[in-house]
């Protein structure tokens, strides 16, 4: 079947999509967007977290056809269009500086989940509390870092994004 949807603000159309295929497979194998990672394929690990119509979801659990006409935001879309080469989104920069990236496999999902959390909190005029950070990232597994540096990165990103309210959500 044919699938048309908007990915990171750009209309995309792909053909010959198998009806049982996941949105994750379409993104990685048909649209050339391998940022979202394929690990557990059962919604456990969060490595494939993307925005679907503005809400973070596991792309592995979305049937491709369910994304028809919808807006998808992936980790590749975090950096705004027109950014200079190498320019990073504040969440990406914070993960880098805080040492929150080791093997890096879980990082794309964590970046999207963090972006969502920070924007939701800042929209309510506050920074996320530690308990909220833990809750928001509960569906993103990291087997390297032990999470402490990830929590540091989220706090750092929230501080910087609170100071620069022009940063746009990728959703």
């Amino acid at each position: 079947m044919r699938l048309s949807c908007t990915v990171n603000g750009t209309p995309q159309q792909v053909d010959d999509v198998w009806e049982g295929e996941s949105l994750l497979y379409v993104l990685r194998e048909r649209m050339g967007l391998p940022g979202s990672k394929n690990a557990c394929e059962q919604g456990e690990c969060g490595s494939c977290t993307v925005y679907l119509d503005g809400l973070p979801v596991c792309a592995c659990l979305v049937a491709a056809g369910q994304a028809q006409g919808r807006e998808v935001g992936t980790v590749e879309g975090l950096t705004p269009a027109g950014a200079a080469p190498g320019e990073l989104h504040p969440v990406q920069q914070a993960f880098l500086e805080a040492g929150a990236v080791q093997c890096g496999f879980c990082t794309p999902g964590l970046l999207v989940a963090t972006d969502d959390l920070v924007h939701r909190s800042l929209a309510e005029g506050r920074k996320p509390a530690d308990a909220e950070i833990r809750e928001a990232l509960a569906g993103n597994l990291c087997r390297c870092t032990g999470y402490e540096k990830i929590l540091d990165a989220v706090r750092l990103a929230a501080d910087r994004m609170a100071a620069d309210p022009t940063a746009e959500a990728a959703r």
């Binding site: 198998w18 009806e19 059962q42 919604g43 809400l55 973070p56 596991c58 369910q66 809750e135 569906g139």
Partner: protein, 291 residues
């Protein structure tokens, strides 16, 4: 495999009537796992996420009619006050990503004994509204579960909604797992106190072939509370302990990878005792919802 995306409820029912082996999909948190792992190869996937009626809830004739496709995240954010027991259950489900997609309708359709919504639905005397081109019927949730992952749903029917009367008394929910997120329950328990009709509702999860109530425990507790509803006096500790024992006796668990039968029985007695202690404390404070 075919993929159908009905835009209206009528179209969805017609499609199910014409393709009885079609597998409905909403949040995909069960169906896509089956497909991803090659365990499920339906001839047709029936995507229900475009049917507007399923995405809504409304007050209807004294009950909340919760569309089968409302995701758990919205049950928590929009119905925490009206349906506290179900909202508490919803908070224990998966992760934010899963709660943004998973639905009560999907939990019912899968009818797993470990489904997190079931104990809350049982305790609250929910009804399941199912429909086909033949018409609509309401099934008390106690009669909905028919076996491990089997339900009273006919092969041409779809789940339209669940109906729950907002409670007049406190509700509680408790779940045991290896951590607070992303776990299939080792055992779960839902409790509803109904001071308006001097009754008690219970729901047991993950500790029998189907989700089930604990009728003897309900009857015992209703009897013990008979003199206490009006006085709101302290509940004797022995009563809570006995209630826990009776709840555990109603279970019929197995040993599996998540836990032993013996552990599940013990956990249930503890969860039921604690849930009752919390709920009665809420009732004594006069807090009807404790959400």
């Amino acid at each position: 495999m075919d993929f159908l995306q009905p835009a209206t409820w009528e179209e969805a029912l017609e499609a199910k009537a014409a393709h009885r082996d079609a597998v409905p999909i909403a949040g995909g948190t069960d169906v896509m796992v089956g497909i991803n792992f090659g365990r499920l190869r339906p001839s047709l996937l029936l995507d229900l996420t475009r049917v507007p009626e399923l995405q809504q809830w409304a007050d209807d004739d004294g009950a909340v009619r919760l569309g089968a496709g409302v995701p758990y995240a919205r049950v928590i954010s929009e119905l925490g006050d009206r349906l506290p027991g179900l909202a508490m259950a919803a908070r224990t489900i998966g992760s934010p990503q899963i709660r943004n997609r998973g639905t009560v309708g999907g939990n019912l359709a899968t009818a797993s004994p470990a489904g997190d919504a079931h104990p809350a639905l049982l305790a609250a005397d929910a009804e399941v509204e199912v429909a086909s081109t033949r018409g609509t019927r309401r099934i008390p949730v106690t009669e909905f579960y028919r076996g491990v992952k089997r339900s009273a749903l006919a092969d041409d029917e779809l789940i339209a909604a669940v109906r729950i009367v907002p409670p007049r008394g406190p509700q509680q929910y408790s779940k045991i797992g290896t951590r607070n997120a992303m776990v299939i329950a080792v055992a779960a328990f839902g409790l509803a106190l109904h001071p308006d009709r001097r009754a008690v509702g219970t729901g047991i999860g993950s500790a029998a072939p189907t989700p089930r109530r604990a009728p003897a425990a309900e009857e015992y507790l209703a009897g013990e509370l008979d003199g206490l509803w009006d006085s709101r006096a302290e509940l004797p500790a022995a009563t809570a302990t006995r209630f826990g024992e009776l709840v555990a006796e109603a279970s019929a668990p197995i040993d599996d990878v998540r836990g032993t039968a013996r552990y599940r029985v013990h956990a249930l007695s503890v969860m039921a005792r604690r849930a009752l202690t919390w709920a009665w404390a809420d009732y004594r404070k006069g807090d009807p919802t404790c959400a």
